[in-house]
């Protein structure tokens, strides 16, 4: 079948003839598409940021629950966990939150066994100007950029005095800061040797925050977590794939909530389109009468209307995506990204990573263009079946 470019040309010229109306529709439709695609782009970017590090997380985390709350777990359970078939290693961890009242923020303090040589290579990539010898000798910590900034605002340049559980002060030296490339992950983190963390939090030496497991065969993870639940009924077992699912769900949920609100405004817009397409000026009515008298079929007139709608929606689609890309990735989505970020006081200055997949484009397409075209089907049919003999009167 040959494409009838005369018909398309006629549709284009009739769009231009009603330029004010067309521009108005393109403007509104572009804004809608822009809003929708910005939200989807932001959520995709943050999701991607989470997913790229997912495989480095511990495969299984075992936590103890007491009275429905998280409680510290006995270190003696490590040996029992290690005896389970398939468990390669079980490492007790100590970490927690430290509320810094002056600034009203929470830091996440993470303990590591010690600044061991085995970490040396890793650390050199993550931390600038690191002096390993000093780390080992003195009580010192590595902090994230956000922590560093808050501390220096409160005149702690080189060290910080933690208030221990018993009210005494514990002075710890800031030895270095994590590189800014990891700021999204490291912003609120304070990393220090485990014994210091235990000291600050006033925890018993026999208990840890949780235990992380490494499993030889990833396929066995569900079976092993089932066994752990049977062994210690008071524990919560979090697997790596639980985290993946929860991320996916939260972002789908957030964009879904947004979409539900979006549908309302989109629906209003499509009602306007329906209305505009049904109510014709006498000039337009006469025009269609003439065309029919000249031998145009109902189908031909519907085709014209369809081409018009497609051109309008396609241009709006392209424009909306171009503006949204610019807004999200070059301007870094001011205002809108707060929907996903919350109102953290330790706001990291980060870049939304650029992610664009075919599926998002597909999704945007299906949520906009077909619905627009659906809104004009019945009005354009009604226009097209008008009696043509009126032009003769």
């Amino acid at each position: 079948m040959k494409i009838n470019h005369y018909l398309i040309g006629f549709a284009i010229s009739s769009l231009f003839r009603r330029d004010a109306k067309s521009f108005f529709i393109i403007f509104i439709f572009t804004s809608l598409i822009f809003l929708l695609s910005s939200i989807l782009f932001i959520s995709n970017s943050i999701k991607e940021e989470l997913f790229i590090t997912l495989d480095s997380l511990p495969q299984i985390t075992v936590q103890k629950l007491q009275a429905g709350r998280h409680a510290n777990i006995e270190i003696s359970r490590v040996d029992k966990l290690l005896k389970l078939n398939g468990v390669q290693s079980a490492i007790p961890r100590v970490w927690g939150y430290y509320y810094f009242e002056n600034a009203g923020v929470n830091f996440s303090i993470v303990g590591i066994d010690s600044f061991d040589k085995q970490y040396k290579k890793n650390f050199e990539e993550l931390v600038e100007n690191i002096d390993f010898d000093e780390l080992e000798k003195n009580d010192s910590m590595i902090v994230g950029e956000g922590v560093k900034e808050i501390l220096s605002q409160n005149y702690y340049k080189d060290f910080f005095n933690f208030v221990k559980a018993d009210g005494e002060l514990k002075k710890i030296k800031i030895s270095s800061v994590f590189k800014s490339s990891t700021v999204l992950e490291s912003n609120d983190i304070i990393l220090m040797p485990k014994n210091l963390v235990l000291d600050i939090f006033g925890m018993s030496k026999l208990k840890v925050t949780d235990i992380v497991l490494e499993v030889a065969n990833p396929q066995e993870i569900p079976t092993i977590s089932q066994k752990i639940k049977n062994l210690f009924p008071d524990t919560r077992v979090i697997t790596n794939s639980d985290l993946r699912v929860s991320y996916q769900n939260i972002f789908d949920y957030k964009s879904g909530m947004f979409l539900a609100l979006f549908v309302v405004s989109a629906f209003t817009f499509f009602m306007i389109i329906y209305d505009k397409a049904s109510g014709l000026s006498s000039e337009e009515k006469r025009e269609i009468g003439v065309l029919k008298a000249l031998g145009w079929k109902i189908d031909d007139i519907i085709k014209i209307k369809f081409y018009e709608a497609f051109i309008v929606s396609f241009i709006s689609f392209l424009l909306g995506i171009i503006v949204a890309l610019f807004f999200v990735y070059i301007l870094q989505a001011p205002l809108l990204r707060d929907i996903f970020m919350g109102y953290s006081r330790l706001k990291p200055a980060f870049e939304l990573p650029f992610i664009l997949d075919l599926q998002t484009i597909f999704l945007l397409f299906f949520l906009t263009i077909p619905i627009y075209i659906a809104a004009i089907i019945i009005p354009s049919w009604r226009v097209a079946i008008m009696n043509a003999d009126e032009v003769m009167r």
Partner: protein, 221 residues
Amino acid sequence: MIECKNITKIFNQNRHNEQIALKNINLKIKKNELTVLRGASGSGKSTLLSLIAALSRPTKGEIIVDGKRVSKMLENSTAMFRRENIGFIFQKYNLISTLNSYENIILPTIPSNPNEKELTRHVDTLLEMFSITNKKESLVKNLSGGEQQRVAIARSLINNPKIIIADEPTANLDKKLSLEFIKTMQKLKQQNRTIIIATHDPLFFNLNFCDNIIEMKDGHI
């Protein structure tokens, strides 16, 4: 060629504003004839023309054009019938004022997706024939009445129709232009076309190449 049998057309039938436009009309027009429908406005001329062109259907009776019962045709077929057989010249020209002459002239051929080269050649001959070649790209709303009239005639000829229907073609023209129009009609008749003109302009009543003059009054012949 064109045959009307017992045609009655009633608008708004069985309603309070019922109006009988045509009553029991019988009419026969042979091929290559020029027919003038004469009558005051409101006498049913336009209604009869729109019935012949299958723009509307008679309430009663039957119309046969070129062997086809156009009064019984389905909507789609009537469009095809008009596209292939009929050229229209409307009272107010009914050009699309924001398109240029060329675009107006090709309107009837657009749905059948014509070949670009042939179409351009055809349009150029028509433009030349009516000496409006220099107005090809100008918007219709910037043309004078006579030029618009010529564009309208050119448009009616683009699909090479057998039948040309003109409804009050000279109503908005001065005498000189009306005479010019009559000359054009004569030329078209020589090209073996059947022409029907509805008018109350006395200029048409004494034409030597006119075959029938049909007087209409209140829906009667």
